[in-house]
Symmetry: C2
Subunit: 118 residues, 2 copies
DNA sequence: ATCTTTCTCAACCTCTTGGTTGAATAAGGT
DNA sequence: ACCTTATTCAACCAAGAGGTTGAGAAAGAT
């Protein structure tokens, strides 16, 4: 279901240039040319990166004369944190249970030792 | 910096099979063989996937006879949520500011209209 | 009408990725 | 010693990613 979307978003953010673009867009909308300025690659390359972000749903675009301002769709980021947090929490809980289990076993061993002493 | 690490982690989770492996490991440690069982690919392929997760720091492994149990390192997930949340929050705040700015402009326009009426 | 700016499309190249199979290694079990 | 189990290494392959350059389209500016 969301699996495909999730793959697209993770893949989009796996590239440092694209993360840079996202970071830039978090401070405000920008055109492709503006986004390209800090990087040592062609505008076409940045245009491709933006397209990837757009297809992942992380970026939307409007029109202003020749320009195509890019806008960060921050909601999509929640999709990721949702996925990540789910498993982080699950692992955490399991860890807690394991921890208390070990504590209980430890307690039981103490009891046994007390019993043996009587 | 952390940039390389971040790229590795995002890239690792961009693959649905690897996300499945992470999801499985969140419920408890498992061997490569066990991880491979649900999938319709060779054990070697899963072994490669685990290696990718390992190099991203998401998985660690110990030894138990021939087996190499895999363990989810949930801490690394925080690295991602940290990055994501940072920019989500930043975008959110900017949105808030823009929103109040628009409200103020609206208010100013109302004032002007009142002034013109007098 | 023509020129300029901004951006995308198309073709191409190289390196990486995810998969395969077959052989090798590691560690027990009999 | 020999066989079995669990995992990895090596070589290979097809497809995709990220880059390039060159040409084309879209929309103003003169």
């Amino acid at each position: 279901m969301n699996e495909e979307r999730l793959s697209a978003v993770f893949a989009a953010l796996a590239d440092p240039t694209r993360r840079g673009i996202v970071a830039r867009l978090a401070t405000g909308d920008a055109t492709v040319g503006e986004l390209a300025a800090p990087y040592d690659v062609s505008v076409q390359a940045i245009s491709k990166h933006v397209k990837v972000l757009e297809e992942a749903g992380l970026v939307s675009r409007s029109r202003d004369a020749q320009r195509r301002p890019c806008h960060l769709e921050a909601d999509v980021l929640d999709l990721m944190t949702g996925w990540i947090e789910r498993y982080r929490r699950q692992a955490e809980e399991r860890f807690q249970r394991l921890d208390t289990l070990l504590a209980e076993l430890q307690q039981g061993q103490d009891d046994t030792r007390e019993g043996a002493a009587s």
